[in-house]
Amino acid sequence: MKKNRLIKNILGLLLFTVLSVGCKQEFLDFKPAGVISDEDLNTVENAEKMIIAAYASLGNDGLLAHQYGDMWVYGSVRSDDAYKGGGSIGDQFDSHMVEVFTLNTPANGNSNLMWTYLYAGISRVNDAIRRVQGLSDEDYQSQAGVSRAQRLAELRFIRGHYEFILKILYKYPVYIDETIAKDDIINVSNREKSDQEGWAYIADEFRAGIENLPAVQAEEGRPTKNAARAYLAKVLLYKAYVQNDQHQVVSVNASELEEVVNLVGSIESTGEYSLYDDFAKNFLWEYESGAESVWAIMRSIDDGSPEGRGNFSTGLTSSLGPGYGCCSFNQGSQNLANAFKTDANGLPLFDSFMQGENIETAQDIQSNNMDPRIAHTLGIIGMPFKYDPNRIYDSTYARVPGVYGYVLGMKDQELPSSPAFRQYQAFFSISRNTDQIRYGDLLLMKAEALIELGRMGEALPIINAIRERAGSAASTSRLVYSNGNPTGQWKVGIYSSLGTQEEARKILRWERRLELAFESKRFFDLVRWGIADETLNNYFNSEKQYRDYLNEAKFTSGRDEYLAIPQTQITISRGLYQQNSGYN
């Protein structure tokens, strides 16, 4: 009996233990740790942080696929300015496909990732907008010290920026704003807005900024009223060249061009921006976000993140020179190098630049009249590398010269000794802010609009100002050898007149090319002007004598002006998304 009692006591104790565990409902409650819920973010303080997160997506660009900070593959490699470069043709084959056009398909994986990342950015904006809208004006003003309207305008500016990139890459993106419920996003087609409606929609994002953004922002990463004006001018300039569905320019809208002129004019009148005295300052970390920078992506280093929040978009474009890693992508074309040749008056050799000797080495630069912007733009054998007279660019800097030659892009380089430079393994990043619009670009947009409006006389001083700065003593002061001798026969003349509208166009387009080469603008310019087909096929025909891999390159008009809508997205949309012309 005693034993049985003992047993029962033990049993009783154990059953108690069992039940005491079992009865507790909270035993099965497990709160996720280290995360925050949707509702908790609806305070002014957290809404401000969500806005930062929306800005942060600007800096989440990457080496190749999602290089939206500096789209060298899409803006330069696709044009007559640059070759893909890298270790071989097969190195980053997705980019080779877009370079030669003939191999590109809707299945291009990089293109799908680019699309995906841009929408990730848009979703951050929409999330932040919803939160800001849910708060009261008073709370916002008192707690954040800024109006709700201003923050909303900033957010729309960022969204407009993403939409602009989507538009020039894919022509028919999906427009997702904060009013579309998350569950409905799958039901939005990419053809709800026509081409022109899309441009108008994007323009509105910036019009809101003109209204609600302050003239000055204490934090330089935030866009100002002038930045909104500038971006609107850029959007309207694209919008003005009306395309049909086969991407041919069918008309040019004068009223929009007028607006471009007026917008840039109103920016000029504020005196906020000016051209740097020295062209080089646009491409040096020490001068980032100075007088010529209208709006830029902020980059940082030694900021508590593993490799710094630097610019990784250009992380593959360094040379193989000492202190650099690999990878020698984004190399300069012969065509571009030759385009910097000038005549005795310092004016471009519009029709004969490919005749005579090719610009391949420092000697070629010495023996020709040259626009000095070549030395800011391209790395050439025998020339000082990135203004360092003690570092001469030599043949070991290029990776496969047999395929891609020796010319490298210089604008996105910094010297390894720069505090902004960070090497990680074979690659590098720089913490120089990435300009999205600089004043020189903006002035040329105005000049372009003026010329298209037939107002050549007003465009002339703009183009000449750009040229004068390029050839100025300041701009050539860094272009010297260690003995102080200039590295080239720099000769930049100004135009006395732009001539006919046709001649003026040619001058303007040439000037844009020289001024903005390797700033990832060229291909989009060609498409906007409606001359991509002619320009690129001429280029391929002439360039393939130097680069035999271009044998298979061909630009197909009516298709290659835009990337395909990514096949993956069409598949997920169950056919709701429509493919662009020419891809099937």
Binding site: L11, L14, V18, V21, G22, L28, F30, V35, I36, S37, D38, L41, K49, M50, Y55, A56, N60, G62, A65, H66, G87, S88, G90, F93, V100, T102, A107, N112, L113, Y119, A120, I122, S123, R124, D127, I176, K182, I186, A218, E220, G221, M298, S300, D303, G304, S305, E307, R309, G315, L320, C327, G402, V403, Q425, A426, S431, N551, E552, T568, N584
Partner: protein, 1083 residues
């Protein structure tokens, strides 16, 4: 193991002086082998007078003259009753009993194997005891029908086990592992929204400690484990103390490993030829392509060639003399380079990164027990030096299992405890892949080292950015991951009444995983690391389980009833902390301490966990040993689901009929055993992230992975941890403001995934039990599968969401057959064969998930296997320009390219010209054959394993096509590619830029049939001598992974062999050939 005496109730006899006595002696042996049986019970029938046989099988027994018979019994043998005749010497030869009496561990208890109604597979521990597998799960491969095991040869690396294929579409398809009643929790972490694989798996468990392994394959047998059993359950029991005299066992094994199964890569000369061929095929100048120069000419007399102006003919290759301007790096094979046989051969990087591996294993165990309890103690040391240089795994472990009985055995208190420490080198974090991948990507012209002794690196133009394979390995030599694990349980068992037992067990599983990763500075070629860095990571996992059961067992006449009921509570917690620091003044291993760093520091960490609470019950009923029935119910609640869907019930029922017990079969000469059974049951799956149901935002100040596209797979999909910090104030450095990132969309309705399975089984024994077999047929369907649909990209951040969506169905069968031949003299043998087959298809899938699987705008995966191949058809290679022009529009078509079939005849090859093919890597039949033989003191076994009807998708890109990429290396098959003078080849012409248009069901998919000679062993057991200190002494030699037969039928000849065909991936750690010498001794 004959020493595995579990019970013996006999005490020394009581002497009764009133009767005359006789002294009986004799020897008990195995009737087949004539080996003595130690510890057999010899009893005077009907009395308590008895004894045990000694180590030589001998016994002495004092019996009264009145005693008529003695009964001799021994576990695993049929008992015999022998009449006591005139002689006082009685020798008894026992026959091994039918295995029907075998007891197997099922959920929360044991059952006789002959009573099983579901599909339960038992791994015969005896077959694998001496196999040199550091991980016990590896031994199941091919030996248990319906259980597939994958493992690389990487020391200490975990294995992947699949029971009957997979029952879910999710990533976590591992079975539930239960060791001594305690579930092993695989690591699931929501850091980076991804699962951290439990790469240690059961590598901490010493195979020699294991008493039994059972696999519950079907839902009816597994449903007692309810919520987590849908991928099957593997139950492992460690050795328990028995009733026996003190005994010491010692095992020693040394293994040598060789890796000689390399993929065949081009040497320097072959590489040069391939590069030339690619360039001339493209019409580009081969001298400009890479590092080689050539003398060659066009010969129009041979034909037009691909470019139409003649066939190029190579006359001479000019190898580069110097590779870098410092004159430090000369090509392999250069007179001043110590690497490479000749300039043509270059460096063979397979040879450079491989070495002879070895394994050493020492086990020492001690056990003792009596009716008051016992102790089983074991210690193990295992050292594995892998076949890739600098790879290594060490394990030290101790285990103590003990039990104590009180109150005449009414109360048992016991414990199982394992303490183990494993340590392995982390080979997997070098730039450019792991060392074993690197030879595919590093040119053989590069020597291992430069003349000044540093490692070579890509020197410049013509080379990819991939790193030196040897350097990658050496860089990792101080990187370690070590795991201290404390695992075990304490339990008590109380016999309340003779038929009612209460059992309570509290188990714990604690892991402390510490990893250290050192990045030294280096500069080799254009690769460099300028900042030394130390990364530390510490993971703590605590998992405890408390279960209480009450079991009732009673026989009422012909009725036998077993009832079990219980509760179980499980709690899991994981804490992870990691820190890194940069800038080290010295780079000695001792100096790499966080506090010694002078540069930037980062830290991160997280914690997570889950809990489960369950009630379960089981009733087994048996009528007359003929008719069997069983019912199981489990109700599970999990913290991973919302309150409304938190609990679910998983029932099961099964019936069986032992036909051979019926009168009409009872004394049948042919059929000794026949049982038919049918079972139905449900199991669940909750293997999702702990916080899967919540909508989540997370601060991501510092992205770990969106910089290098190959980190965290951000080249293929957006990084899950894209940063939220931004230098809004343009300060350029310092702490940045940061926000939050939506990482997951919540789902309150999330609930269990449920698997329903019907299983029909047939067990038979023929020819007096010499031929035994089992056949199982099953159909399994899973619904509400937990999936993460692919969102349209326009959704943006936070698109990841768990939903209950899809359904799938698997049908299959398994068969196993064992034949024990009658012994002929000193020779006997047995053969075992097992076969299995399964076929899975997706039966239901929401539209939002279609894009997660292969398909296009017109076709979806429904009705296909989840991993069905999807692709284009090809019909050969364009032989001439006329064929090219006649063909439909196809991107990149030209002479020498693959010709794709225009399936829908619309004149253009595009995404719609694809169709479904077979499932990737799933064989029609997987089989294992086990042969064992004994002759005198020798024993021999042979084990083969194979797959039939399987297709694989080897890396044809690298081995046949992608050779010209990035200045890398590739397979020799490229030399056989199509050319104007080799028009019969199935490999498209080499090219720099022309590659196959898309994945092809003909070209990319290859025959994956094979048969592998998995193991051969020969052992010798020494004769017992009275003066020998050993009660058992055996030596053996064995070989593993000895050879492969690969089916090369068909036009596409290239199939990866050896380890890569089995592992299905190029560039993962090889499975080495192993030769072992071992000794087992007991005294």
């Amino acid at each position: 193991m004959k020493f595995k005496l579990l019970f013996s109730l006999v005490l020394l006899l009581a002497v009764q002086v009133t009767f005359a006595q006789r002294n009986l002696t004799g020897k008990v042996t195995d009737a087949e082998t004539s080996e003595p049986l130690a510890g057999a019970t010899v009893v005077v029938t009907g009395t308590s007078i008895g004894t045990l046989t000694d180590g030589n099988g001998a016994f002495q027994l004092k019996a009264t003259t009145a005693a008529a018979t003695i009964t001799v019994s021994y576990t695993g043998y049929d008992s015999q009753t022998i009449a006591i005749g005139a002689s006082n010497v009685i020798d008894v030869a026992l026959r091994a009993g039918a295995i029907l009496e075998e007891v197997v561990v099922t959920g929360y208890g044991t059952e006789r194997k002959k009573d099983l109604l579901g599909a339960v597979a038992v791994l015969d521990i005896k077959d694998v005891e001496d196999v040199a597998n550091p991980n016990v799960l590896q031994s199941m491969q091919g030996r248990v029908a319906g259980v597939n095991v994958d493992q690389s040869g990487d020391p200490g690396q975990g294995v992947r086990v699949r029971v009957r294929g997979t029952s879910t579409l999710g990533k976590l398809t591992d079975p539930l592992y239960i060791v001594d009643g305690v579930p092993i929790q695989s690591f699931v972490s929501n850091e980076n929204n991804s699962t951290i694989p439990q790469s240690w798996d059961l590598s901490w468990l010493n195979p020699n400690d294991i008493a039994s392994i059972q696999v519950l394959k079907d839902a009816s047998s597994a449903s007692i484990y309810g919520a987590r059993a849908s991928n099957g359950v593997v139950i492992i029991t460690t050795k328990q103390p028995g009733k026996q005299k003190p005994r010491v066992d010692f095992n020693l094994r040394t293994t040598v490993e060789n890796w000689n199964d390399y993929d065949d890569l081009t040497n320097n000369r072959e590489r040069a030829i391939v590069e030339w061929q690619g360039a001339v095929n493209d019409g580009t100048n081969p001298d400009n392509t890479g590092i080689y120069k050539y003398k060659w000419h066009l010969d129009p007399s041979l034909g037009p060639g691909i470019q139409g102006n003649g066939v190029p003919v190579l006359d001479e290759i000019i190898y580069p003399e110097w590779l870098d301007e410092d004159d430090q790096l000369r090509p392999s094979g250069h007179p001043q380079s110590i690497y490479g046989g000749s300039i043509e051969e270059g460096t063979d990087y397979w040879k450079e990164i491989s070495r002879r591996g070895y394994m050493q294993n020492y086990d020492l165990s001690f056990s003792q027990g009596n009716e008051r309890g016992g102790v089983q103690f074991g210690a193990n040391y295992f050292d594995h030096r892998g076949v890739v240089i600098n790879s290594n795994f060490k394990r030290m472990g101790m285990r103590m299992n003990s039990n104590f009985k009180f109150l005449d055995g009414k109360i048992t208190i016991g414990e199982n405890l394992t303490v183990s420490r494993g340590q392995r080198l982390l080979l997997d974090n070098g730039f450019g892949g792991t060392p074993e991948q690197a030879p595919y990507r590093y040119k053989s012209i590069l020597p291992v080292r430069t003349e000044d002794g540093r490692f070579s690196g890509p020197p410049g133009g013509g080379f990819s950015d991939r790193d030196n394979p040897v350097a990658l390995s050496v860089d990792n030599q101080d990187d370690r991951s070590s795991n201290v694990k404390v695992f075990g349980n304490i339990y008590t068992e109380v016999k309340l009444f003779p038929s009612l037992t209460f059992r309570s067990s509290f188990g714990g599983d604690y892991d402390n995983i510490y990893s250290k990763d050192i990045f030294r500075t280096y500069s080799r070629g254009f690769l460099a690391n300028t900042t030394a860095e130390l990364q530390l990571r510490q993971t703590h996992q605590t998992n405890w389980v408390f279960n209480n059961t009450l079991s009732y067992s009673k026989v009422f006449g012909q009725h036998s009833l077993n009832v079990l009921g219980g509760t179980e509570a499980i709690r899991n917690n994981i804490n992870i902390f990691s820190a890194s620091a940069k800038g080290f003044a010295q780079e000695t291993v001792e100096y790499f301490q966080l506090s010694a760093a002078s540069g930037e520091r980062t830290s991160s960490g997280m914690s997570t966990g889950f809990s489960l609470f369950s009630y379960f019950g089981k009733i087994n009923y048996d009528l007359n040993d003929k008719y069997l029935a069983s019912v199981t119910v489990r109700r599970d609640g999990s913290s991973r689901f919302g309150t409304q869907n938190r609990f679910a019930v998983f029932p099961a029922a099964s019936i069986g009929w032992r036909v051979s017990e019926e009168d009409f079969l009872k004394n049948n000469e042919v059929i000794s055993n026949l049982k038919v059974r049918a079972a139905w049951g449900q199991t669940g799956n909750q293997d999702i992230l702990n916080d899967a149901r919540f909508g989540l935002y997370r601060a991501v100040y510092a992205p770990a992975s969106n910089i290098l596209p190959w980190d965290a797979g951000c080249a293929q999909a957006p990084c899950a941890d894209a940063a939220t910090s931004y230098d809004i104030g343009n300060n350029d450095s310092g702490i940045l403001p940061s926000g939050f990132l939506a990482t997951q969309t919540g789902n309150d309705k999330l609930r269990w995934e449920t698997t329903t399975e019907a299983n029909f089984g047939l067990d038979f024994g023929l020819l007096k039990g010499r031929l035994n077999g089992t056949v199982e047929v099953f159909k399994r369907s899973t619904k509400d599968i937990l999936v993460q649909p692919k969102q349209i990209a326009a959704f943006g951040d936070g698109a990841s969401q768990w939903v209950n969506g899809a359904s799938m169905e698997t049908t299959g069968w398994e068969a196993s057959l064992d034949y024990n031949a009658e012994s002929k003299g000193d020779f006997r043998y047995s053969v075992g064969v097992n076969l299995s087959h399964y076929n899975s298809i997706i039966t239901e899938l929401p539209e939002s998930l279609w894009a997660s699987y292969a398909g296009n705008a017109e076709q979806n995966i429904i009705g296909q296997a989840p991993n069905a191949l999807f692709g284009y058809r090809t019909d050969g290679i364009f032989q001439n320009q006329a064929e090219v022009e006649a063909h439909a529009e196809q991107v990149g078509k030209r002479v020498g390219a693959l010709r794709y079939v225009d399936l829908n005849n619309d004149g253009v090859i595009n995404a719609l010209d694809q169709e479904y093919g077979p499932a990737n890597g799933v064989p029609v039949v997987e089989f294992g054959v086990n042969f064992q033989a004994k002759w005198k003191k020798f024993d021999f076994s042979l084990f083969t394993w194979g797959n039939l009807g399987r297709v694989v998708t080897p890396d044809v890109y690298r081995m046949e096509l992608g050779s010209l990429d990035n200045g890398e290396n590739g397979g020799v098959n490229q030399l056989d590619a199509w050319s104007p003078t080799n028009t019969g080849s199935y490999i498209p012409a080499a090219s720099n830029s022309n590659r196959p248009f898309g994945f092809s069901l003909d070209y990319n998919v290859r025959n994956g049939n094979y048969l592998s000679l998995r193991q051969v062993m020969l052992g010798y057991t020494f004769e017992q001598h009275a003066e020998s200190p050993f009660s058992n002494l055996r030596v053996y030699v064995s070989g593993e992974n000895l050879g492969w037969w690969v089916d090369r039928k068909g036009s596409n000849q290239y199939v990866q062999t050896g380890w890569s065909i089995e592992n299905r991936l190029a560039g993962i750690y090889p499975k080495a050939q192993r030769f072992s010498l071992g000794v087992t001794a007991s005294f």
